[in-house]
Subunit: 332 residues, 2 copies
């Protein structure tokens, strides 16, 4: 049977990985891509970091953000996770015929504010228009260039006993978008969409033994941790009670049948660091509004099968797989 693209391929989970690993990386065969981070340090020009992201979120506006803010913060964060200082963004718009110009203006103003807040400049752009029905109002691609400021040793430096930190509550973005899409409104629940480059700069300049940083967007915390352990000779064990989840996110997840561990975040990072530096690093993180709820959520284990396990409140142990299928399509 002819294989076709389904929404699962865009979930950020297993199918997305398969698409990328089986088709895209082999096609473009080069070492920068095969590391599969969200940004690349450039071969032969490794003072530069380069990242790209397209945004197709529906609805365009949601509590806590909109597609424009998301497009700026998402790419800023991907560059920042490389240990680079994000400086320049491109902005490529695919507009659907019939989009009110006023909607476009609101999105552009939001991009401008987000870029200004993050200290980056939008320096080049492109605009295409597709027929009514061939888009979804507005798709945005941003690509970002940053200058490398820190050298992160990466997954090869991760050791059993290392600490796993998260910069705050998980699942806020995914659930906020899903509620907005369903037309249900919750005054409390907002996307966490924000730029993390000031936080990463403070963390990396603190001298803590940071191995790797990653923002757990599509596929959520559980999927990103699985990307870390996949094919490695270490595992990760999380303490369920230590993972910060807002009560309103938990309630929304219960209602929608979602798991906050798999819900997208757009203003959070995961950090693996040397155990002895964890407490001081958490203090550094908590000094920022975007790191206020930072927490130590688990440890690296010597599990040779690279499993991510969750120790539950009742003393049980559950294996967290990568997201399979599309829990939340079109959330970024």
């Amino acid at each position: 049977m002819e294989e076709i693209i389904t929404l699962d391929y865009g979930s950020g989970g297993k199918k997305t990985s398969r698409l990328i690993e089986q088709y895209i990386v082999p096609a473009f065969d080069n070492s920068a891509l095969s590391e599969l981070g969200d940004g690349a340090l450039l071969p032969g020009a490794d003072e530069l970091a380069f990242s790209t992201d397209s945004f197709v979120v529906s609805p365009l506006f949601f509590p806590g953000g909109d597609i424009g803010k998301l497009a700026v913060c998402g790419t800023v964060n991907d560059v920042a996770m490389c240990g680079a200082e994000p400086k320049f963004l491109s902005c490529a718009l695919i507009l659907e015929e019939g989009l009110p110009v006023e909607t476009l203006e609101r999105v552009l103003q939001s991009m401008r504010r987000a870029a200004s807040d993050a200290g980056v400049q939008i320096v080049t752009g492109d605009t295409k228009v597709v027929e009514k029905g061939r888009g979804d109002g507005l798709y945005i691609n941003t690509s970002g260039i940053g200058f490398r400021k820190y050298r992160l040793p990466g997954l090869a430096a991760v050791r059993p006993g290392d600490a796993v930190l998260v910069s705050g509550t998980v699942g806020d973005h995914g659930t906020a978008v899903m509620l907005a899409r369903s037309g249900m409104m919750d005054g409390e629940l907002r996307s966490d969409c924000t730029a993390l480059n000031r936080l990463t700069d403070a963390m990396l300049s603190s001298g803590a033994g940071i191995r790797i940083l990653r923002d757990p967007t599509r596929g959520g915390l559980a999927t990103t941790l699985n990307e870390f352990t996949e094919g490695r000779s270490f595992g990760i064990e999380l303490e369920e009670s230590a993972v910060p989840v807002r009560p309103e996110v938990r309630a929304a997840c219960d209602m929608l049948g979602l798991d906050p561990m798999y819900c997208a975040n757009e203003g959070k990072l995961i950090c693996i660091c040397a155990s002895e530096d964890a407490e001081a690093l958490l203090e550094t993180m908590r000094a920022f509004p975007e790191g206020r709820d930072a927490a130590l959520i688990g440890r690296v284990t010597d599990d040779a099968h690279g499993r991510v396990a969750l120790r539950t409140g009742l003393g049980g142990r559950r294996i967290l797989q990568k997201l399979a299928g599309a829990q939340l399509p079109r959330i970024c």
Copy 2:
């Protein structure tokens, strides 16, 4: 009445300019953007050139190319026109649910070949999936980074008497795509889609007094020349008989009611250079397959109204405006 986006806004002509000048540039207010080239030399890092382009061409495959080849060559060319050497590309895919994986593979292989031919590396990427009906099979964004190799003086250096050169026949891409879309096939008519970075490198290293280079894509030759003269105190006069147009392109234009001067090109460049260097530069260009049909097509005039005029075979004189409306939607 509420203003909405129409297909005209994507034509590359007057409406596109208005959208960009009225809404996008003011929103992102910065000097790099307001120069409105297709690539940016980065403020404070001007050894770098950065460009972005989204591709929404329909159909995905057409004689002489496909959306993948177009996405690589288009961004390579935008970087090359800045006087930079294109080095790194990103590749962001928006896939429509239902796209055959085999189609994606063909496009990716085409991108790989085009990147290899142009000497650039695809180093970072992103993949999103939208619901069936919300895309058109496949949209691709490529962004490109290049290292500045030459300093082009730009429009401020243009003087009356300067020569206007084109690297070959005009209108090939636009007419090939329109014929493919209409289902009519013409064995002869092919898109000119190709990378021009080797040609620009040879031209710029020749020492000729080159003022500016630009690839006349959407909106064609007439629109790009109008972008040069707009708000300037010089005009351009073209000799109609000197503008190279393939007989099959002319025939297709007659049939489709198009004007080759406004049809998109994807493997051509326009160059304004010092008059005394024009002949030697044409020789340099003609040594490349992509510059084989290079021609001197006109001169810069001292027209204070910045008009682009065409001297016709019969001795008449016609003013060429920017493209108004959408002669050819979705051609790149």
